[in-house]
């Protein structure tokens, strides 16, 4: 009875819903995701969901390719001065914003200045620190003058989305919500409801990559289960993230294809070992530096590295879907990643041997080693942000693995804010599980390990090595790409040797598509990332 009534209701509603439906027809690609842009204002946006939309609606000077290289997008050509301080970009003619206004060097220069001048933008002005002046010439050229020569202007410009000057010059840089979102990219904004959906329509006149579908809608699902269920039942055509546990069951679905790979902006899960030297303790900035002294000993860190069974962690926590980590620089960074390093093999006996040799003995027979002087047992606090669902599983495994070498852990989830306060520059912890999102350029993550960053709160480990600091300064101004690559690889070797972090794995990016409505999904590349427009501009409806 109840069942019948339910179906009557559903049928009635469907009839209502279907009456005049399908204005977009089969050409509307529906994408399910777990988040929503925090804001459509590129200046203030933080979340990756926002950047995905920016990539689709805006253009920038360079386009990042799936192999990690950059190609010019808005400009026909670029010329660099001999001192490497002046870049002149020749902007393509005939590019139009969605409202019909032409996109010119004026707009680009305005945009770059805009990003640079607003110091309270969280990220954008991070890419403009080396910009001295940005000017537009009457010949539709943009001239960028740098304060010092840098090796990676392409990586700086790739996220500086070009905004229409005629709209933004009168807008409040922070408060402007940008709901109309006039850009020049392959998709146009139709409707945006925060935490509900983003509705885009194709810009068939796009100068470079006009999409083949007519519309794309990103729909927010608050729960992972709903997301997976939505693609199973065909309520969406693609999902951009899901728990690794769901992969196996989705692979079993006909019409659904799952792709797992390293993303463009790879996420690194790291185990932070507090090794700050008391001399470097930033007391003036709130440093407490209560870390366990044993962690300052490389032998202990090395033993921990040897006792960490990354495969098991990946197996259990990520269901085997991630690649083992080496240093903070993930394999997703392509050429920057030092693939010549050999990871510490998982060898409990060896780890025990290292500790024995270094004098850490279990003198009182309680299964926990003490410091060489017999005091202070190796009992570490292990913290992680309480909003992480995977970290507690990792913590459990670590507790078991390190227990094998006489290291005891006190597991405690901590509120993310409290963890921030505990972390840095307070250094009021022993071991933490946390993570980093990476830039395409290694500069950022390498900087995290420099001595200079200890008082600023960027350095989580308190690691300090003058040799590394020197190399960091060198690579930052090394214009020769190959030389810079060599430097970067050398730096990775140093931190790997010093066991600054233990990196259990690099997070995979998992996406799933329905193949019964659209074809042409890019699945054979080493990277998958929706932020790249390629998939959405190349897919076409099934005939």
């Amino acid at each position: 009875m109840k069942q019948k009534l339910l179906y009557v209701l559903i049928v009635a509603a469907f009839v209502l819903a279907a009456c005049g439906g399908g204005s977009g027809g089969g050409a509307t690609a529906r994408v399910g995701w777990a988040g929503s842009p925090d804001t459509l204002n590129p200046g203030t946006a933080v979340l990756s969901e926002a950047y995905i939309i920016f990539e689709l609606v805006y253009d920038s000077m360079y386009e990042l390719n799936l192999d990690g290289t950059f190609t010019l997008s808005l400009a026909d050509s670029v010329s660099v001065s001999d001192d490497n301080l002046t870049y002149t970009y020749k902007i393509k003619d005939g590019i139009k914003f969605h409202d019909g206004q032409p996109l010119t060097a004026e707009d680009i220069a305005f945009t770059y200045n805009f990003y640079r001048d607003n110091v309270d933008f969280p990220y954008m002005n991070g890419y403009t620190i080396y910009f001295d002046t940005i000017e537009a010439t009457p010949d539709n050229e943009v001239v960028i003058t740098l304060t010092e020569a840098i090796p990676n202007i392409d990586a700086q410009l790739v996220f500086l989305y070009v905004l229409p000057k005629h709209i933004w010059e009168s807008a409040d840089p922070i408060e402007f919500e940008n709901v109309e979102m006039i850009g020049s990219g392959p998709f146009k904004m139709v409707e945006y409801k925060q935490n509900e959906f983003v509705h885009l329509t194709a810009n068939k006149d796009h100068f470079r990559t006009p999409p083949k579908i007519s519309e794309v809608i990103f729909q927010t699902f608050a729960s992972n289960d709903a997301l997976v269920q939505a693609i199973k039942t065909g309520q969406v055509d693609m999902i951009t993230e899901m728990p690794a546990t769901a992969v196996e069951s989705l692979r079993g679905e006909s019409n659904v294809e799952v792709v797992v790979g390293a993303p463009f902006a790879p996420t690194v899960t790291d185990i932070i070992l507090n090794q700050v030297d008391p001399e470097n303790c930033p007391t003036a900035d709130g440093g407490i530096c209560s870390g366990h002294p044993a962690l300052r000993d490389r032998n202990v860190r090395l033993a921990m590295a040897h006792a960490t069974d990354k495969k098991k962690i990946i197996d259990v926590v990520q269901l085997g879907l991630a690649s083992p980590g080496m240093t903070l620089i993930p394999d997703g960074l392509g050429v920057w990643f030092n693939d010549g390093l050999a990871d510490y093999e998982y060898d409990v006996a060896k780890a025990n041997q290292i500790l024995d040799d270094a004098g850490y003995k279990d003198s009182d027979g309680d299964g926990v080693r003490e410091m060489p002087d017999g005091t202070n047992p190796l009992n570490f606090r292990l913290n992680w942000p309480s909003d992480s669902i995977d970290a507690p599983r990792t913590a459990e495994l670590l507790s078991e693995m390190w227990g094998e070498i006489g290291i005891e852990l006190q597991l405690q989830a901590v509120d993310p804010d409290a963890l921030t306060a505990q972390c840095c520059p307070a250094f009021d912890f022993d071991v933490m599980i946390w993570g980093w999102g990476s830039d395409p350029d290694p500069n950022l993550l390498l900087g995290v390990m420099t001595t200079d960053q200890i008082p600023t709160g960027s350095s989580e480990t308190g690691y300090s090595n003058p040799e590394f600091d020197d190399l960091f300064a060198q690579q930052a101004t090394e214009l020769d790409k190959d030389k810079r690559i060599a430097l970067v690889r050398q730096m990775q070797e140093i931190v790997h040797n010093d066991v600054v972090y233990i990196i259990p794995y690099y997070d995979p990016n998992i996406q799933a598509f329905r193949t019964d409505r659209f074809t042409g999904w890019i699945t054979d590349q080493p990277k998958v990332e929706l932020a790249d427009t390629t998939s959405l501009v190349v897919i076409e409806p099934v005939k």
Binding site: V46, N195, A222, E460
Partner: protein, 350 residues
């Protein structure tokens, strides 16, 4: 007609007392709300944006934007740790008075997470929540009251036991657990499981949009109804049992009234009295109670907003929600008192 006058005065006093107390509670909550969120650890400016890459300038700018550069209140720069600061500050330049002043202007601050005014976010979400909760409450009240009525009337029969066990069972289900099970059941039966409407449906004809919203509402409303129905049924049943054993029911029966007339004219109104309070309090709290349902079904309501704010530690939004919920509970209580004074003639003269 002196009696009438006196009743009016008493009634006025009763109402004035209730309203006065409600106003005081609101004031208290306002103050509590401010200080509660100032005792938190860490730097509030960084709390919203978990990114150590933020530059010093950006942090300073953020602090200024959220007004955190000003002293909390006279003599106190911050609350955690409590440091004595300057007492000679213009009170209007302190965070507390700015907060109060903004509240009077209807401003709840700016979300750390989205940079949008909190008031705007909350109001936008509030309507969706009202839609969901309204439907859920109405359904659960109707079903609960009917079941309760039936169970009490047929007390100690198998009908009663069945209704009682069903209600207790419904009450025992963890909301999100029920939600997720219904989500799977529903999506396998072709029901939509996310959002309030099909994205892009805003171009459809009006009638069709409503139909679309209706099918999207089905699962969350069902979950809500099941969860709350049990509570209402239990209250209705026990309160009706109390009423039905009162002597005036025997009087009514002796008067020759039929069972239906007795239930309708004598039992229902009296039995509804305790329910009114519970409904009112629930109405106030369901905003928060809908968190689980809204999260499971991606319903873009206030509960969902609170959930996100919890996850992202978006304290201005939490603060706003805190105030909104508290005030709505206070108002709901006030409403219950007013309803009570109409339903029960004994109340106003106490």
């Amino acid at each position: 007609m002196r009696v009438k006058e006196e009743r009016k005065v008493k009634r006025f006093r009763y109402l004035a007392g209730k309203i006065g107390w409600a106003a005081f509670t609101v004031l208290f909550v306002l103050v509590l709300n401010f200080f509660l969120f100032r005792v938190l650890p860490g730097d509030p400016a960084r709390a919203g944006v978990h990114d150590p890459r933020l530059k010093k300038e950006a942090i300073e700018a953020l602090r200024a934007r959220y007004g955190l550069d000003k002293p909390v209140i006279n003599c106190f720069e911050t609350l955690n740790p409590i440091e004595v600061g300057s007492c000679g500050v213009n009170p209007l330049e302190t965070q507390f008075f700015i907060y109060v002043g903004n509240l009077f202007k209807g401003e709840f601050g700016i979300s750390y997470h989205t940079n949008r005014p909190v008031a705007e976010i909350l109001v936008e979400r509030l309507w969706n929540t009202i839609l969901l909760i309204g439907a859920g409450q109405i359904l659960s009240i109707i079903i609960g009251v009917l079941f309760g009525l039936f169970a009490a009337w047929k007390a100690r029969t198998s009908i009663d036991y069945a209704a009682l066990i069903t209600s207790l069972l419904a009450w025992s289900l963890p909301t999100f657990w029920l939600g997720i099970i219904l989500l799977f059941w529903g999506s396998n039966n072709g029901l939509p499981i996310g959002g309030k409407a099909l994205p892009g449906a805003s171009t459809y004809p009006l009638l069709q949009q409503w139909g679309d919203i209706a099918i999207h509402m089905f699962l969350p409303t069902l979950t809500y109804t099941i969860v709350y129905m049990g509570e209402y049924m239990l209250i209705m049943r026990s309160s009706l049992l109390d009423v039905l054993s009162e002597d005036y029911i025997l009087t009514a029966k002796a008067k020759g009234l039929s069972t239906f007339q007795i239930l309708k004219d004598h039992a229902l109104k009296n039995a509804m009295l305790p329910l009114v309070t519970v409904i009112a309090i629930n109405l106030g709290f369901t905003v928060a109670g809908a968190i689980q349902i809204e999260t499971v079904f991606s319903w873009p309501g206030l509960g969902g907003a609170i959930y996100e704010a919890v996850l992202r530690r978006d304290f201005p939004v939490l603060q706003g929600a805190f105030l909104l919920i508290a005030v709505s509970v206070i108002l709901a209580n006030l409403l219950a008192d007013l309803a009570y004074s109409y339903l029960d003639p004994r109340v106003q003269t106490v």
